[in-house]
Symmetry: C2
Subunit: 181 residues, 2 copies
Amino acid sequence: MAEPRFRRYAPEVRAGMLVEAGMACLARGGIGAFTVDNICAEAGASRGLIAHHFGGKDGLLVAVHAAAYAPVLEGWEGVGLPGLVDRLFAPAQFTEPGPRVWLALWGEIAVNPVLKAEHERHYTAYRTKVAAVVGDDVLAGAVIALADGLWLEQCLAPDVMSPDRAKAACRMLLRPILGDV
Amino acid sequence: MAEPRFRRYAPEVRAGMLVEAGMACLARGGIGAFTVDNICAEAGASRGLIAHHFGGKDGLLVAVHAAAYAPVLEGWEGVGLPGLVDRLFAPAQFTEPGPRVWLALWGEIAVNPVLKAEHERHYTAYRTKVAAVVGDDVLAGAVIALADGLWLEQCLAPDVMSPDRAKAACRMLLRPILGDV
DNA sequence: CCTCTTGCTGAACGGTTGTATGGTAAGGCT
DNA sequence: AGCCTTACCATACAACCGTTCAGCAAGAGG
């Protein structure tokens, strides 16, 4: 047989493939589509692999959460007040499937203790980065809340809220306090 | 037997009991806990009742969504700019289990077509009410986004964001545009 | 070409899911 | 008190869930 039945990958490569497949399922069908069957079919692997690499489905979910947070935390070097809004709504996190994945994750974070602890850790780091730009911690919380809420509206009613309108709305509220951002 | 094995209720009464039980399950364990078994146990009824009254689990979910929206849409008579923030963060919608239920619902709305259509209908009505107060539709979208984002933070990191801090953050951003609200 | 490590498969398992359905009894009405 | 409507129960069912595990085979090293 010239064609091998399956390929072997380095563990971290295969783990990455499973994480990506998990995000795709999450974006397509929410947490209800985040099943071992779906994910392994999406990744083109057999059902045992998730347990093998992540110990179980919950382990993969934590890894997916971390992967979803990565683009949110990256690329803050050199960002000042001008450029803040562009950074908040950077394509990497504001275009699909990013927001869809977050929508599904939020519903689980509130309910899954492990995920919740992991989230608070990342969120604090995120908030620190934003606070460094706007100069105030409470204001940073408000800015993040505004951005998240605009993500939300875009997901739930895309006809009403586009990325451009979201940026405009964000600037409308922030300009009186922060100037041109 | 003096004690009857079960009680009979008027259909709309029993439907209300099931909706309430569904919201409790949603708040406690997210969409993963929204199962026929859980809900009927919570309501003290047998497993067949949901199909009997709502045609199926999806029917109940739509009813729960409508019930969750009710307190958001009520009580806007006579609300002007002063009082807007108090109305946005009224206890009926900002204290548990309200936000927890919404967190779970948001993840499904994006994915369930029936729920999505229903949501857009209610959301438009909500936005209209807010726009009537703030006088501008785009601004209304931004205000709702801000309020939703603050709900979110309070659910995900309650230690960091309390109802009072949420109100303060909201006023901080709105005062320069709307005055004292 | 052989060997050895190990990434991976795939079937089997017990438990849970939502729905369908035939039978039961609650409680209003006469 | 008896009847009759119908709200309700409780089981059965097939589909699907996540985990386990014994063994296969891919492919690097020799």
